[in-house]
């Protein structure tokens, strides 16, 4: 048929090719430093060196032996999960409230509820340290939980609001006409429909919490310290592949979490505002 048609196809293919090459490069750059960390964690040597020529689980055993890593990793995970859970409890109703509201006040409140991600974590941490100490909460797990929840709220609120706005009101109306009470409508219709948004927000807040040094910094106690604080303190005096190993373990745990979310709810919602 048409030789020129082929040419034209090729031209548009070439455009796509450039775009694909760019994106490929982008993703390589994106994961390269992370790949380095993972590789280094399997070195048998003392130092974090690249290229890694042999494979060893040595530093994973070391992890296991250095109690603060294990303890603080558990603390961090527990903290991330519980703070995002509390954030869900307060942010989801808020998102629904804003989603239903037609008023300007609610719009202004949206800004307010998003504000905690704009303030340096250190400022939030320090301010809260003095504030909480004044009201008698002091340094404790409770304080850590409060601080992380404050930072988690914006993420959960934002994604939930977006999903809620995307779900048509007629689903809820259909349910109530069919005899569902407000609670039943929420439980059986609204909640399942906005669940992906809630999970996406929770996921973001968990990821952010796991690496949030600034907010955790001031609240560590002997029994309750988060992984970033321990890592920072460890790095002051020692730099060995155990650090890479603990990072890899943390990453592996989050990836598993992600896969669970993906299998249960699908991650499409991550891409939903």
């Amino acid at each position: 048929m048409n030789h020129a048609g082929l040419q034209n196809k090729l031209a548009s293919r070439a455009g796509l090719g450039v775009l694909s090459a760019f994106t490929g490069l982008f993703f390589v750059a994106l994961i390269a430093p992370i790949v380095v960390v993972v590789l280094v964690s399997f070195t048998p040597g003392e130092a974090l060196t690249v290229p890694v020529t042999a494979f060893s689980m040595r530093w994973y055993r070391r992890l296991w032996e250095y109690q603060p890593f294990v303890d603080s990793l558990i603390t961090s995970l527990y903290l991330a999960l519980s703070s995002s859970f509390i954030a869900i409890l307060v942010a989801v109703p808020a998102a629904i409230g804003i989603g239903q509201s037609r008023s300007r006040v609610a719009t202004a409140l949206t800004t307010f509820l998003l504000a905690p991600i704009a303030i340096p974590a250190l400022v939030i941490g320090l301010s809260l340290l003095y504030f909480l100490s004044n009201i008698g909460i002091g340094v404790s797990y409770a304080a850590l939980l409060i601080a992380h929840t404050v930072v988690s709220v914006p993420y959960v609120m934002r994604t939930t609001l977006a999903t809620y706005r995307n779900t048509h009101a007629s689903y809820r109306e259909a349910a109530s006409v069919l005899g569902a009470s407000s609670w039943q409508t929420f439980r059986h219709v609204t909640l399942p429909l906005i669940a992906p948004g809630i999970f996406a927000g929770a996921l973001f807040s968990i990821l952010v919490s796991l690496d949030n040094l600034g907010v955790s910094y001031f609240f560590g106690t002997a029994n309750v310290t988060t992984l970033p604080v321990v890592m920072l303190s460890y790095l002051q005096n020692q730099f060995d592949p155990a650090i890479a190993a603990v990072s890899t373990v943390q990453m592996a745990i989050t990836v598993v979490l992600l896969l669970i979310v993906e299998k249960t709810y699908g991650l499409r919602s991550l891409t939903t505002q």
Binding site: H168, S176, V177, L178, G179, Q184, T185, V189, P192
Partner: protein, 411 residues
């Protein structure tokens, strides 16, 4: 299986008349931010009746349904179902069924779970719910679809599942908001039949909103034509079609040749009009029944309407009025021919339909001189419209002479 609405407990204060109705809206008004959406609207629906609400966009059809459903509450007036005032009940306490334009099937549930949602909410136990769902699936002729995902259904199938979900709980009133709006024409006509069949066989009192006038006439026991939050006319489809109250109704429900006539004289119940402009010298004269609500002084002119299918071409009958004209446009529409005829005595253009009786007959040719005729009984005198205009921008309006909604394809 009969709808249970009449057995509902009757509350004190609601009139005895209301009790015999399935649904009564009593002078309900609703404003949105100061702008009235419904204006003291009253409507009564008999048990088992299917009433269609018709009207231009924004006239308040959906608002009416939402007030009945309980999604909105009236500013004034009351809503009663089965003789019981439900004005302050939330939707889930009203025992209704509803079908939405986009079906609103729960996307996270299977077909069976969607249909079973109502019974489940009513606290019906699982085996009975399953049974009810199966009965519904048989009713809508989709027996094997219990475990299908909603996303795997075609539009027509979704529509039927939505219907099943709405009626499984034996609702006292079924509400349908443009239930067929999202379907294409062929499927739509099939579903009109299906819905009407179910509605009649189960005897469910129903209120439907549709944009499609023919659909409303085909399916309903009664059509209600609304404008700006008010009911203009309500009655059996044929009655409203044949005796439209005013020009708006005439033109909204099908096509109408509206002719402005000079008033010659007035009787007790009748008015005699001349069919040409007052400034012209000739034309026929007709004596017509006065519109019901006609009171006060007689104006100088009056509008009358004749439907295109009432006009015969070259087939005058005794007693019919006759005019000479010329075919200016001929459109073949399948089962009908549509003609645009210039009739000097009436004004520039008259529309006439002719059944396409025979494929051998080519229809009247453009330019052909014809005689048109119609029975005086098919001419309706219209009440003057209260300053409202059908929003038909782009269509020229004549001060005097026939004006027709341009619903004609043109060659």
């Amino acid at each position: 299986m009969k709808h249970p609405s009449n057995t509902a407990t009757q509350e004190p204060g609601s009139g005895a008349r209301a009790a015999s109705k399935s649904l009564v809206l009593d002078a309900v008004s609703k404003r949105y931010g100061g702008v009235p959406a419904l204006d003291a609207l009253s409507l009564e629906v008999e048990p088992g009746e299917l009433v269609s609400l018709l009207g231009p966009s924004g006239c308040g059809k959906t608002t009416t349904l939402r007030l009945i459903a309980g999604f909105e509450f009236p500013d004034q007036g009351s809503v009663s179902i089965g003789g019981r005032d439900v004005s302050s009940l939330p939707p889930n306490k009203r025992g209704l069924g509803m079908v939405f334009q986009n079906y609103s099937l729960f996307p996270h549930m299977s077909v069976g779970e969607n249909i079973g949602f109502g019974p489940r909410m009513a606290g019906i136990r699982k085996p009975e719910t399953q049974q009810a769902v199966r009965r519904m699936l048989d009713l809508i002729r989709m027996p094997g679809f219990m475990d299908r995902r909603v996303s795997q259904l075609s539009g027509g199938q979704q529509q039927r599942v939505a219907l099943a979900r709405a009626i499984v709980n034996n609702p006292s009133v079924l509400l349908l908001d443009e239930p067929l709006g999202a379907l294409d024409k062929n499927l739509r006509e099939g579903m009109q039949f299906e819905i009407r069949r179910l509605q009649q066989s189960l005897g469910i009192t129903s209120v439907m909103v549709t944009h499609d006038q023919e659909e409303a006439m085909t399916m309903s026991d009664r059509v209600v034509v609304m404008r700006q939050g008010k009911i203009l006319q309500s009655g059996a489809p044929r009655e409203v079609y044949d005796r439209p109250r005013n020009r708006f109704v005439a033109e909204f429900l099908g096509t109408a040749n509206v002719i402005t006539c000079r008033i010659v004289s007035r009787g007790a119940q009748t008015v005699t009009v001349g069919t040409v402009c007052p400034d012209e010298a000739h034309g026929a004269s007709l004596t017509l029944a006065l519109p019901k609500n006609w009171t006060g002084e007689l104006p100088r002119t009056i509008e009358v309407a004749v439907r295109p299918e009432k006009i015969a071409i070259d087939a005058p009958q005794p007693g019919h009025v006759q005019f000479r004209g010329e075919i200016v446009q001929h459109v073949f529409r399948g089962s009908q021919h549509s003609y645009e005829i210039e009739v000097p005595e009436l004004g520039p253009r008259i529309y006439a339909y002719q059944q396409a009786f025979s494929s051998g007959h080519a229809g009247h040719a453009r330019g052909q001189a014809v005689t048109i005729s119609f029975a005086p009984g098919d001419v309706v005198a219209l009440e003057p419209d209260e300053g409202h205009e059908l929003a038909m921008s782009g269509i020229d309006a004549f001060i005097c002479g026939p004006e027709t909604v341009a619903t004609q394809g043109v060659r």
